[in-house]
Amino acid sequence: MRAPSTLLPLQLEGLVFAAGGRRIVDGVTLTLDAAARSVIIGPNGAGKSVLLRLCHGLLQPTAGRIRWNAPELPGGPRRQAMVFQRPVLLRRSALANVVYGLSVGGVATDAREERAREALHKVGLAALASRPARVLSGGEQQRLALARAWALKPEVLFLDEPTASLDPGAAYEIEKIVTAMHDAGTKIVLVTHNLGQARRLGDEILFMRQGRIAERAAAKDFFRRPESPEAARFLEGELPW
């Protein structure tokens, strides 16, 4: 049973985003539910990252609608978070970065540090809490970005190729954290170019091509037998652009 005040489901209706005369997202209609981990894959320039930013409110759609079940209040704390390909961290300690997110998120001052430490512990950075965030390794920085997001206990977490610039070991750590967040009840929407990662993390796959959702299927079905020839060729690594 879903409480009436949850963000999800998210409904996109005829969503279009055009820039420079090109329709980067070209009429996307879909509903995202709370339970499944949704993984968006597709070739470069298919509009995956833009779709994610539209959902998260970082871009305004040219046409179409984005409907949350119970939208966030304008100016109120956010109930969704996003982790980017390259983590953007402030020139302060790791702990202070998480605390900052909590303060912007409207968490009471005296509750922030404990919650931040808890989040750092969950991503395995407790020992590095007082280190300046920007001198951490790439993998540690991305884990810190996840901790900052997790501390806010978001209902939805958008991830835009979070492991694209990480080595396999660091990427594996990130995947573990994403899974743990999912288990703790956060809806995961992930864009990735890594098909292995899509297979490991995805409950359902949304295959995007030329600004549209070309195929949507349960992950195991998609990888066993994609329905569209484009998706089949993409999986083979053959789709020409």
């Binding site: 930013r53 956010r78 996003m82 953007v88 020139r91 997110g101």
Partner: protein, 234 residues
Amino acid sequence: MNGLGAAGAQALHLIGDGDAHLVDIVLLSLRVSLTAVVIACLVGLPLGATIAVGRFPGRHALIVVLNALMGLPPVVVGLVVYLLLSRAGPLGAMGLLFTPSAMVIAQAILIAPIVTALSRQVIEDAWDEYREQLRSLGEHRLGAAVTLLWDVRFSLVTIVLAGFGRAAAEVGAVMIVGGNIDGVTRVMTTTIALETSKGDLPLALGLGLVLLTIVLALNAAAYVVKETAQRRYG
């Protein structure tokens, strides 16, 4: 060359002896220029940050004007402040003309555009990098301006020093609004100008050396702060 050598030797003597006259002039210079820098920063840093993250009509024009104002001629600033503060001027009743306060006002006006324009540039570059993340967290523009100001604090040190260097080195504005009155409004640069024309080269040269040393020391300090911070905070 002989003249320079002799004057230089005497100048070093003056500095070495801690000549009271010279010390007074140096202290007044520092007091005036540092106060002007503080005022210019109180205005310029928040303004620069606001323009950097703001969206309002005329923003581009404002940035162009600010950049142009960095090259404001000190004598023009001096003249305008003189007119404002002179007895017949709108602020004449305050009786500030030919006081150190007038010099502070003139220098603050001179360097506020420098602090504003340079901090705007630095903060806008940071904003380009942080914008999506800060908006994702739900930060509003004003909060973002404050966050960015703090995050680029080590780069701002250099900007503040550029402002101080400009203030301490200018002569035109303080000469006009201060009047170069001995013991009251005489600072390093106005003294150098006066003593040179009078032919008292040792004092002029001594003050020149002090001025150079101060500017050099401050820049060295700023460099060390910035480098250390960058290594520590990334």
